[in-house]
Each structure stands twice: as C-alpha cells, then as structure tokens.
C-alpha cells in the first residue's frame, strides 16, 4: 500500500515539475486528498510558489476554483481573478496567496473509486496572460500522458 502511494505521489511531483519547466505558467500545484482522518484535501506539490503559506490551506469542496473542481469533477478556469468573486482569501485562498491573476484547474481521479482525489491547478501572475479552454485541453493531455490517476 505504501509503495503505491509513493508511486502516485512521485508521479504527482514529477508532473508538477514537468509542467512548470515545459510551460510558461507562473504557478503549478497539485492538491491531494489525505487517506486518513477527515480526508482533507491539501496542496501537496507546487512549483513557482512565492511562500510556504499554500501548505496550510485545506480545500473546501464547492468553494473557490479548486473547490469547484473537487465538487463537480469538471475542469474550471477563470481570468481577472483579482476583480471578481474569487478575490478574497476565504473564497479562493490559493489564488490570493500566490497573487494569481488567472487560473485553470482540472480534477485528478482516484484509481479505486473513480471519484475526484485531487486537483491540478496552474496560473499566471500577469493580467496580459490568460487561460483558455486550450489550457484545459493541454493540462488534460499532461494528465493522460503521466497516467496520474491518484
């Protein structure tokens, strides 16, 4: 069991690193559901972060961009983040802490249950760079090729 976990988390950290190196995103992060306790979802791997604060966050289902992905199991993207409903800490902490101006996120599915077991989120810090449906397709491609079904 421990080995499987290690394998998949390794995959996740590799995926973060690979996307961050190959693409021009300012931030790449993966949040995963814990296997014990209250099954909290936390940001486990990230690249391009500005502080360690993201590690404190516990994702809330249905709240914020990543939370909506967890709840619906569908990709989600948003531009102009500093000026809309996601512009405060409570509704979308990760984009606030990392000062992202746009972000796109896709779900990562659990092998066993086929349910959402995590989120892959990328974002920019400069308003002129925007995320589109193409970004989503791109991320899905990465997910598929890495075989990350965690």
């Amino acid at each position: 069991m421990g080995d499987i976990l290690n394998d998949s988390t390794n995959l996740a950290s590799q995926l973060v690193r690979q996307i961050y190196m190959d693409e021009d995103f300012d931030f790449v992060g993966i949040a995963l559901q814990e296997n014990s306790g209250l099954r909290k979802i936390r940001w486990r791997y990230a690249a391009g972060y500005t502080s360690e604060r993201f590690r404190k966050i516990v994702l809330r289902s249905g709240i914020g961009i990543a939370g909506l992905v967890v709840r619906t199991g569908k990709p989600f993207l948003e531009n102009d983040l500093q000026h809309n409903q996601y512009s405060d800490y409570v509704s979308c902490p990760i984009t606030q802490i990392e000062q992202l101006t746009s972000a796109a996120a896709i779900p990562l599915f659990d092998h066993e249950t086929q349910g959402v077991g995590g989120v892959l989120l990328v974002g920019y810090r400069h308003a002129q760079q925007q995320v589109t449906q193409q970004t989503i397709a791109h991320l899905e491609h990465y997910r598929q090729s890495a075989g990350v079904l965690i």
């Binding site: 099954r39 404190k56 800490y89 409570v90 349910g115």
Partner: protein, 342 residues
C-alpha cells in the same frame, strides 16, 4: 385660513424649542417653552440680545476678510452656542438661532435649541441603526446557514443516496471490485459531508467554548481560519479562563472571530497574532494583524461601514469592559478588549 392660523399659533406655543420674538430689542412674544426656560434658568434676555447683536455685528463687519464664505452662504440662520446655568449650577448647552422677521420694523426671533436634546436624538438614531444592523446580520446568518444546508449538506447526502443506489447493480452482478470502489466513493462523500456539518456547527456556536473553555476555542478557530485562508495565525494564551463568566468568554470569542474576519477580508494580511493575557485584576485580548490598516478617525465617526466595530464596542461596554482599536494606513490593526476580573 383662520384655522391654519390657529394651527401655526399652536405650533408656536407648543414647540419644544424656546422661541422669543423681539422688536427693537424689546420682547414682543414668547412661547410656553421660552417661559419655562426663563423660570428655570438665571439669565437675562438683554444678555441674549447683546450676545446676538455682537455676533451679528462681528459677522457683518466690513473688515472681515472672509468675503465669500461658503459656509456662511449655506447658513441662512445664525446659530450661536450658548451655555445656560440652572439654579443648582448645572450647565446646559444650547444653540441660539437668530431669524430676522422684518428688517424695516427691526423684528427678529431668537430660538433656543437644546444641544443635549440634539445629541440625544443623534444617539437614538445611532442606536436604531445599530439595531437594524444586528437584525440584518441575524438575517444574513440565517440566509448563509440555509444556503450551506441546501448547497453542501443536502447535496452531499443526496450524492450518497445516489451512490447507494449504484451499489445494487454491483451486488446483483456479484462484482466485488465494483462494489468496493463504489463503497469507497460513498465513504468519501460522507466524510466530506461530515466535515461540512462539523464546520457549520463550529461556525454557529463552538461547542469547544462550552466544553473546554476559551483558549481551546480560540485555537480551534485560529486553525480553521488558517486552513481556509493560508494566513498564519498564532495564538498566545497566558491566562486562566475558567473563572471568567460565560458572557465574557463569548464576547472574547466573537471579537476574535470578527477581528480576524475583518483582517482577512479587508486588510490583506499575511499574519495574525492573537494574544490573551492575564494581568492582576484584568484580562485582555489583543488581535494584531500586519495588514493594510485603516484611518481610525474616519471610521470612528458614525458611518455605515463601522457598524461591526461599533457592535463589538457595545458588547464589551455592556460587560463593563473597554474596547480599543489602534490602526493607521499601512501599519496593520490592533484590536484590544479588556475586562476587569476579581
């Protein structure tokens, strides 16, 4: 016409403001309030007249270099502050308003408005606003609870029900793997709902506060906010809280909650320190953030935005405590509440 004249007369004689009408500086008529005032206070009408004359003369002075004073232009009546003494030497503040009635016949009226009454009216208006604010906050709370119940709890339970329905085909086909994965899915769903319910219960009224006391409750609150926002929240508690009354503990908790929410929502802070300290005969709670801060002068006056602060202040005052906010733009905010203890 006759009727309306009598109404105007009635209005004049029963007005709460004391009204004197003068012609050539001699008293012509005065209303009931003016008569009572004259009986109760020791002052001479000539004093009022000369006071008024001197202020008018001062204002009409040609050498006054304030030619186009915008303030004077929007003030048709001259209002002069006057302090009157009662027989037992109590001072009461009034405003003296001069209204010229007929310049040709040198007729004018003097109206004495009680300053205390105006202030009392202001207070009442302020209290009304506060009550409105508290009521609205109650409604908002209910709205949020109802939304949370509907959107997250009900949704979670519904998903679990759907999940259980999906178990049936797996059982029928004796597909062990499918059964296990579906069961896991339902378990996760229920865990999520459980943590939502717990979170909601904590939001409404922290049971920790009732069963374990103030310090664990503050720590739980800090941890929850930290997890929701990623902001570092340190709780430093050097106090015995068992002997505090339930009211004081609740107020401390609510002040911590409101101040931290304010800091998170409005101040864009990165760190909050919560310090609860016991002094001899005094217990104090400080909430210090490193956010953007605000101008307390601007917020201190009565406006719609500071009602939350005012409400905290009222709650502390009601329990004989003191409440203080220290903030300036760019220097973060410190909220402090203190209560005397035996």
């Amino acid at each position: 016409m006759l009727e309306s004249t009598s109404w105007i007369e009635k209005n004049f004689s029963e007005s709460p403001d004391a009204i004197f009408i003068f012609q050539n500086d001699a008293l012509l008529i005065s209303n009931q309030a003016a008569k009572t005032l004259l009986e109760n206070y020791h002052f001479s009408l000539t004093y009022l007249c000369s006071l008024m004359q001197s202020v008018l003369a001062q204002q009409r002075n040609d050498t006054d270099d304030c030619f186009h004073c915008a303030i004077k232009e929007v003030m048709p009546n001259r209002a002069i502050p006057v302090t009157l003494k009662t027989a037992d030497n109590q001072k009461l503040a009034y405003f003296l308003v001069v209204t010229p009635l007929d310049d040709a016949q040198h007729t004018y009226s003097l109206t004495l408005k009680s300053n205390a009454m105006l202030q009392r009216m202001d207070q009442v208006a302020q209290q009304r606003k506060l009550v409105q604010y508290v009521n609205r906050a109650h409604e908002e709370e209910r709205k949020r609870l109802s939304q949370d119940l509907h959107d997250s709890i009900a949704q979670g339970v519904y998903s679990a029900i759907m999940g259980i329905r999906h178990l049936e085909p797996a059982t029928a086909a004796t597909d062990q793997a499918a059964f296990r994965s579906q069961a896991k899915l339902i378990e996760n769903q229920l865990y999520e709902t459980l943590s939502e319910v717990k979170g909601m219960a904590l939001d409404i009224r922290p049971s920790v506060l009732d069963s374990f006391g103030l310090v664990p409750a503050l720590k739980a609150l800090a941890q929850r906010l930290e997890e929701n926002t990623g902001i570092t929240i340190n709780v430093i508690a050097r106090a015995e809280t068992e002997h505090l009354s339930e009211d004081v503990q609740t107020v401390f908790y609510r002040i911590a909650q409101e101040s931290m929410t304010n800091a998170i929502k409005h101040a864009k802070c990165a760190e909050i320190n919560l310090i609860l300290i016991q002094h001899p005969h005094l217990i104090s709670l400080e909430i210090i953030d490193d956010g953007s801060g605000f101008d307390t002068q601007q917020m201190g006056s009565f406006n719609g935005h500071s009602l939350g602060l005012m409400n905290m202040n009222e709650r502390v005052k009601a329990l004989q405590g003191t409440f203080h906010i220290d903030s300036s733009v760019g220097n973060g905010t410190t909220v402090r509440a203190e209560f005397p203890v035996v």
